[in-house]
Amino acid sequence: MSTLSLIIKQIINALQLGSIFALIALGYSMVYGIIRLLNFAHCDIIMVGAYISWYFMTNFANMPYLAVAAAIFGCTLLGVAIEKVAYTPLRGSPRISLLITAIGVSYLLENTAQLWLGAAAKSVPPFFKVTTLSFMGLSVSTTSVVTIAVVTVSMTALTLLVQKTKMGRAMRAVSEDSQTAQLMGTNINATISFTFAIGSALAGIGSVLYCCAYNQASPTMGSMLGLKAFVAAVLGGIGSIPGAIVGGFVIGLTEVFVSSIGLSTWKDAVVFLILIIVLLVKPTGLLGKQVNEKV
């Protein structure tokens, strides 16, 4: 294999990893945009999604579509439930209390999963037969192709949803100024719940794609994945949808690049270093909007 095709192969790997990060980062970003909350429970929603896929794939192995649908539906339901039970009562309180509640929810989900299903990782059967496609001397696994395709479709759908529909307009309005939006007749509670539903549904898709790529589910799988996705969201500019996508790809590329030059133990440090440099140069992230402070 020539150097060029090796490089292209690594780039495709990076795109696959980056698109999973981007998908999860979107969930963080949308929730942050609308209620200014770093939703620590988001990474555990992914974990729950992975377990749902595991359950359906081991019990109904011939119906992968069912597993995918169940994972997405389950995550959506869970996200909205968390929002209703744990975050809505705290709408008016200091933001840090909300943050601690999110941490509490995250611990709760992690420990419940651990108690119920054990600490060991479960192996998820493959959703489809993984083959290698050859194209002009390049070999690419179907998993990469499917992942990249699914993420592209979801991103396009999301962008259309946010830009073109009435609900999308409501979401943008609430994130800009929730009080004014309420005065204009937007139903704030419904909009926030809808945002959580969309973010969690994306987490569901992300969890299925993660299972496709790594074939396992464990109670703590969310924490590092979530932290990286969160970094991606901040890197791109939290609250911004294209920012999350850019951030995800930057993180994916960095990780694959650092690993491929043989420094895989340092990859997390490099990711955080990039984050720090970006924040110091442009404190709102790559595509974040600068908000002026009023005195």
């Binding site: 942050y32 200014r36 770093l38 744990a86 009562p89 705290l90 309180s93 200091p94 840090i96 209390s97 909300l98 943050l99 601690i100 509640t101 941490i103 509490g104 929810v105 995250s106 611990y107 709760l108 420990n111 419940t112 651990q114 108690l115 924490s223 932290l227 969160f230 970094v231 901040v234 939290i238 133990t265 340092w266 997390d268 440090a269 955080f272 270093l273 984050l275 720090i276 924040l279 110091l280 404190p283 709102t284 402070e293 005195v295």
Partner: protein
């Protein structure tokens, strides 16, 4: 009441110190006579370490009004600095331990300065994320530096072993006292009021001539120093260190203590570090469920009491004496 008010400061301090010394003596006596067993002595040491960590994080969150999530990183720096020093120095570890602790604190404070200067340009959530990033970098550097430079300093993932176990009930609680005393003294001074004014309104504080960068960095360095002290005590308590113990979750644990106690309340931090360390130990009988109970507790307290258990209140509601007298009196009963 009146006479008390007129007591000179030094007498007040002496009374406080005497009362605290009594508490230490009583604790020691109970431990010597095995009324408090070895296990509970260890729990008490962890309580003390958590108190130091929480009280120092409280400077950053409660007093400065920022959200630093780097406690684990500073703790790791303090722990490793003091542990490496203690292993290398051939003097009786019991004698040299205070030097080790202060060294841990100083190295950590230095890191606080290096990290704080750039990081404090950011605010709120961004500050939280950048300190989190620095803490993770510190952990990964400790994990990999030996292999990268070909030295044996931290032993990376292979554990730093044979650290003299010099942390005791007495010296841990003496450091709790030192930390609380110095932080309280700082907060009652001019500098402390400057820090509080930054929390209340940054722009107004700046327009009154308060040097934001200086005071923010100062608060951050003090936070890093005492977190490093806590880390050094932690190293002397465990006797073995591994970078994986200083992950993101550790910072979160300490933040939870501070927020649950009430940000800006030192009493709150002290009480909640005792409660949140002891409750999981008591729940050990139901070990499977204890983390679930813990997380539910967290959610419920936040929903019903979003400002934390103590709010910003200190123990002494009448404001007759400064908080320090109050806290000691609680132990002696009022």
């Amino acid at each position: 009441m009146k006479t008390r008010k007129n007591l000179p400061l030094i007498v007040k301090y002496l009374i406080v110190a005497a009362v605290y010394a009594l508490f230490l003596l009583a604790g020691n006596l109970l431990i010597k006579n095995k009324v408090i067993g070895l296990y509970y002595t260890k729990v008490l040491m962890v309580v003390a370490i958590n108190m130091i960590l929480a009280v120092s994080l409280n400077i950053g969150t409660g007093y400065l009004g920022q959200l630093p999530l780097g406690s684990a990183g500073f703790m790791a720096v303090g722990a490793y600095a003091s542990a490496i020093f203690m292993r290398k120095v051939p003097i009786d570890p019991k004698l040299i331990f205070p030097v080790g602790i202060i060294l841990g604190g100083l190295v950590s404070g230095l890191f606080g300065l290096i990290i704080g200067l750039p990081a404090l340009r950011l605010k709120g959530d961004y500050l939280a994320i950048i300190t989190l990033g620095f803490a993770e970098i510190i952990r990964i550097v400790i994990l990999n530096i030996d292999k990268a430079l070909g030295i044996t300093l931290t032993y990376g993932a292979a554990n730093l072993k044979n650290i003299p176990k010099t942390t005791t009930f007495t010296n841990a609680f003496i450091w709790v006292f030192i930390a609380c005393f110095l932080i309280k003294a700082m907060m009652n001074s001019r500098h402390g009021r400057a820090i509080l004014s930054i929390r209340d309104n940054e722009i107004a504080a700046e327009s009154c001539g308060i040097n934001l960068t200086f005071y923010k960095t100062m608060a951050f360095v003090v936070y890093a120093f005492f977190t490093g002290v806590g880390g050094a005590l932690y190293a002397g308590y465990l006797g073995i260190l591994n970078p994986s113990g200083f992950g993101f979750a550790k910072s979160i644990d300490i933040l939870v203590i501070v927020v649950l106690g009430g940000m800006g309340s030192m009493t709150g931090s002290v009480i909640s570090s005792a409660v949140l360390t002891i409750v999981p130990e008591l729940l050990r009988a139901f070990s499977d469920y204890r983390m679930i109970v813990y997380s539910l507790l967290l959610i419920i307290v936040m929903i019903f009491r979003p400002t934390g258990l103590m709010g910003t209140k200190e123990f002494n509601p009448r404001g007759i004496m400064d908080f320090f007298m109050g806290r000691k009196k609680r132990k002696e009963e009022r």
